[in-house]
């Protein structure tokens, strides 16, 4: 009943509808303007981690240790220790990853990242079958890192190594996952 009071009234007053339409447009426009003005900083804050390096840390060559304690053709898992900066935190030297170190009979060293190129699980060495195996999706790799079977799109990622004064160093870096080329992230 009440609803009709003002509707009827508005018929009597010409121009009342025009005024109301103007108010409607103004209300929508002003609300949208506040919305946009507020959304800009909110969205900027929301997306900012995607535009910054939030997790960083030591890079370059990592000291793996003495080369004397390697056995020929037996992969050895060595943690990579470095400083990690995670958003606001700085962690003193902690494990930031690991590599499989392999020495062949000519005392040449190969380092594989333990990260499976498929989806990033930790690759394991299966001593019995002499293969690297990723426990998540059953990718198998031979001792040289080539794919034997399974979903991995590429071989295990080899990392550059260097020997200085009897010590082995590895250039540790993470690669993009799930693609056939080896590209650093």
């Amino acid at each position: 009943m009440n609803e009709h009071t003002y509707k009827k009234e508005s018929v009597h007053h010409s121009g009342e509808n025009g005024r109301r339409n103007f108010l409607k447009i103004c209300s929508v426009v002003l609300t949208s303007l506040i919305g946009i003005a507020y959304a800009i900083p909110l969205i900027r804050a929301f997306i900012s981690p995607a535009m910054q390096d939030t997790v960083t840390g030591s890079s370059g060559l990592f000291d793996i240790g003495n080369t004397n304690d390697c056995e020929v053709n037996v992969p050895r898992k060595v943690p990579i220790k470095g400083i990690k900066i995670d958003a606001w935190n700085k962690f003193p030297t902690t494990a930031i990853g690991a590599v499989w170190i392999l020495m062949d009979k000519d005392k040449k060293f190969t380092a594989f990242s333990t990260i499976c190129p498929h989806l990033g699980c930790g690759v394991d060495w299966d001593e019995d079958s002499g293969r690297f195996v990723c426990p998540c999706h059953d990718s198998y790799f031979d001792i040289e890192g080539n794919v034997l079977s399974g979903p991995s799109p590429r071989r295990l990622d080899t990392l550059e190594t260097e020997i200085k004064q009897g010590k082995l160093f590895v250039k540790y870096q993470k690669m993009k996952l799930g693609i056939s080329e080896k590209i650093p992230t």
Binding site: C26, A37, P41, A45, P49, N89
Partner: protein
Amino acid sequence: MKWLEDRTGLNGLFDKFTDEPVEGGAKWSYVFGSALVFVFIMQIVSGVILATCYSPSTTDAWGSVYYIQHKTFSGWFVRGMHNVGSSAMIVLAVLHMAQTLIFGAYRKPRELNWISGVFMLFIILGFGLTGYLLPWDQKGYWATQVATSIMGLVPVIGEFVKGVIQGGNDYGNLTLTRFYSFHVFFLPAGLMAFLSIHIYLFRRHGVTPHWKPDELELKKKTQPFWPDQVFKDVVVSVIVFISMVIVVWYMNGAELQSPADPSSNYIARPEWYFLFLFQLLKYFEGELEVVGAIIIPSIVASLIIALPFIFRSRSRSPLKRLPVMGSFGACLAGVIFLTIMSSISDSGNERIIKQKEESEKLAHVAIKLAALGIPPQGGMAVFQNDPMYSGEQLFRQHCIICHSFEGAGGNSAPDLTAYNSKPWLIGFMQDPNAPKYYGRTKINVMPEYDLEKEDLSNLVEFLLAQAEPDKEIDPVLKETGEMILEENECYICHTYDGYGGDTAPVLDNFASDKWLRSMIEDPGQKEFFGKFNNMPAYKDKLSKQEMDNLVYFLQSLRKKSY
């Protein structure tokens, strides 16, 4: 549009929500409720964005807020808006309440509108209280302590309630996880529930129009809520929004104090809207504390809730409801009085002003150091990033139990004021067994030398040159120095350059970083004080980093010109 409308009937829903007759027409005095809803929505949105970066743990909270404030794009602004939004809600809520009282909108049959509104006011205060603990900075930590301690004062159940709220016997991780949960789940859910009730009841009973026009006139002047009232609401929301932006801009966002330090004697002051309660506490001493902390606020709160039942006058005109207007005025005056008293007593107190300045300085240092990365031990650990600060802390913690320093400290070991500086060493050479030096120790074998002024100066210069092993020592100085050592038979006890006795400290690299570190690690080594030593070894007591920082501090004493 038609496709969507056919399937959802959104237009119909919109009409249903907005098609409300406003008797007597749209009024600027009705805007406060809508403005509150507007700010509440802004708080939800900014809160959700802040939550994408915030971490509620004692080790991470401060760091994550630091990160929001200084490392994300516009994070400072979002946080600032959220912070100012809480003040805006309090201000608007009080205005809304005042409007309700003046127009008599609490009277029968709107008692429940009033009561649901009062509950929402308490919830808004709850948001404020739980919110400012979250950064885990000095202010949040200490001001909230006061609030939870008050909870503990409640007879019988107090300690239990306090334990539930703060999550155990003391402030810690669970305090933060709980306050966070209250702030983002419990309180918003509660506010939304009461808000639904409040708006439903409001729609049921309609506005309470101005007291002057009669029924007929009101009916004639009725306007639709949309757009007539909405437009006014939107205009006010724009004003509120712009004011908030201006405040945030001028204040550079919300402040972030230095990380919560349970060992500090920070002067806790709550947000401005709690100052009146805080001030009230000062008037009740000892056993009466509970009166100011709990009894008076509870009575007042109950009276506010019961207000529609106490003041039953049916008239809309505030002039005919003088008792309720008077009570409201008295309450408001009381709150304003207490708030002003609190800020007057603080602004006149030199100790508080000084501490405020100091805490601002410390906050500044903490934020600068946080840029280097916050150690995993938490916000307070940023100070370890500063060797000077951390070194002095370690020095005061470990050394001045025995050593005297700048007129304070212990008296069983040499005074370390200006340690190893030129005046210190000159004084030492003139009288090594003075109380300031070895006088209070077991060491009594260093003879007093009566050197010529020039020789003394040269000897000290020569010794101090040892402190900078990276710098080539001036050959003339070296020769002069060695000659003085020779002439005064220093080599009998001291070794220098591979030659000499071993019953006194070596002079190679004397007072260098390496020499100091090695000496502090184990002063009983033959190279240092050997069998005369009385100082504990710090090899296993300090980490490498701590040792570096301590040495850094000691070296600063030598380098500082006195």
